[in-house]
Amino acid sequence: MNNILKYLRKGELALFIIFLIVFIIFSFSSEYFFTLRNIMNVSGQLSIILIAAIGFSVLLIAGEVDISIGSLLAFVSLPLIEIMNITGSVPLGIILCLIFGIIIGLINGYLSVYLGVSSLIVTLGMLFILRGAVYLYTGQRAIPDELMSDFFFYIGNGKFMGTIPYAAIIGLIILLIFIFVMRNTSYGRKLYAVGGNQEVARLAGYNIKLLKLSAFVICSFLSSISAIILASRIGSANHVAGDLFEFQVVAAVVLGGVSLAGGIGSLTGAAIGVLILSVISNGLGLLNIDTQWQLVVNGVIIIIAVGFDELKRNRSL
């Protein structure tokens, strides 16, 4: 516990306490909540958002934003499933899916960074374009995974030793890697600097464009990994997948203290943000609260948590 606390900075500590409170409340109010099985379920479920949120945070920290990730989720699962169905090879599908993700990241990045169109606009446009393309390609019908290979099924549904979801393990590994990269490598620090004050970073001789481009690629790449896990969980390339996903990710990440203005925030914080929202959603579901009330509660919690945090830190975005 002490070790965990040491790693949490001030703001994150406050969030972590909120998380604990939520956790304890649910543990007392639902008999199913604090069971190994449920905890493991949640950890698998949240990995989809977590992985995308890591990439999203990296990009936010670098001072840019990508709101096309929800559409991207649906889009990159097309090559994944199609290639798997055609070639019968899961790795080939995965590789192609990731390549598509990288390409979209490059396009987003190129348009934003090299052509100088604000990334919000580029990716808002991309949100429409990718979703439209998915509808057009699929004729608004999901493409099923016809291969039905166990390997692919296990990515999103399987559990290591029957207990720990593989998805959770993938999420955790990615999280740890990127926490390290952002904190302790010059690359990570440069991303912070670029997002914190682009002009200063430029005068320090950074290749701003390349750095930002790389952040776009990371964001799309990680979202593509989310897409793979999601596709495995829903056994298809689904045209409705990822609808409003970008909002879920934004909410979690900002709740976790990553600033929309760039240069501020940590992946630990972002992860706690994801944790809080996922646990709330799970707990409310187990308590049989109507989805409608869940929306209300979620909204109120976001306001309270972010507001509380703001008041405490008195930071402004």
Binding site: N184, T185, S186, Y187, R189, K190, Y192, A193, G196, N197, E199, V200, A201, R202, L203, A204, G205, Y206, N207, G263, I264
Partner: protein, 498 residues
Amino acid sequence: MVNINFKELNIESVSKSFPGVQALDNVSMKISAGKVHALMGENGAGKSTLIKILAGAYSKDTGNILFDQNKLNIRNPNDSLNYGIKVVYQEISLISEFSVAENIFLDNFPTNSLGVMNWNKLYKDTEELFNRVGFNLNPKSKISDLSISQQQMVEIARAVFKNASVVIMDEPTSSLTPNEIEKLFTVIKNLKQNNIAILYVTHKIDEIFKIADEVTVLRDGQHISNKLISETNEELIIKDMVGRTVNATFERPKDILSAKTVMKVEKISSKNKIKNVSFDLHEGEILGFFGLMGAGRTELAKAVFGYDKITEGQIEVNNNIYKSFNTSTMVNNGIGYITEDRKGEGIVKDMNLRENMSLPSLKIFEDLFIINRKREKKAADEYIKKFSVKTPSSERLITLLSGGNQQKVLVSRWLIRELKIIILDEPTRGVDIGAKTEVLSLINDLAKQGLSVLLMTSEMNDLLSLSDRILVMADGKISKEFYRGKVTQEEIFKASVN
């Protein structure tokens, strides 16, 4: 590439134009290694532009830059850094979320071959650097927790820390206290001994006689003169700069303290370190404030102006007593405020000069609900002329003006309207000597007409020559009160270190 041995940095016929402005017009100069070369000129003369070209931030239109006879190929900041050209910029250029150490090593983080940061080395090297140059800062503190002057010290430390062949300082002392300025001069002497060429830009003429070896003056983007320091004097330089002489002593009325009280600050405290501060301000009085860095002058100004909430005490203006108020309350009571942080809190970057000027006073330009743009423009033009703001028109975006000219606009912002009290926090920072005299004498004139002034400036001479009273602050409290003519610099300093 680094540590090139050279005798002179040669700038040959460099020109640069921006739409509507010829910022540099065939400027040539030589900066010798081991010498301090001062660069002077009015606001907008082109000093910062020249520096940015050397730094690779702007590209020049024509001309050459050479180390002796070797042409430098500066396409971007990276090239410039590789040549060892290090710049302390006029506006603070730091990552405010980073630690001091990270900022110092921003362009060259200590890492292993995999790019993993070596934090220990980072902090240790920073510590050593500070010890060497005599700055006293914690390498781990966050920039946003530091005062402007502390930040300026970080900037300076960053520029000189290693591999420098040319160090360029654009008004480095504009936000330093005398004590820190001394330290900076020691650093500069140190650099000279290491055979580094130094280009030093300042508006404070006395400084160049302390450290510079030669001085070049620019006017309107053109090279006017170049003299060894031993062959020139203050008057000559000012004449080169402005084309005339300026006079900078001020007469103040004698009986000002018997005038009626316009503002009564009673025992106010704020979260931002102000503790139990009280003072009166009389009609037409210029009340000076002095304090060392972090003494709390800015915080006091912000508390009085309603920017920071006061937690205790009250303020009486216009016979109204306020315990809780915001900036619009104060503006409506005829109070104005000029910030020390021009870029961060002063200019509105999406607006042009006219809109920046009229922002707090739009009401007076209104016909019914509609702004009368003609009147607004006329008022703006009037102040552009009065302070000789260097701009093609009042419709120019404020960000395209030079730093000093922006400051003039911000001063005009408040003079355009009827004011009872003005709070000036470093109002002449970065303003050239000609305009500075104009600003100060305007303040003096306005005070004579009944405007009351709270003047916070680190320029001791201005403070002494203008203030009717001087309050010295230390640690968020007022430590001593002095009266005009009955105080010396030494006494003020003594009170401020209390």
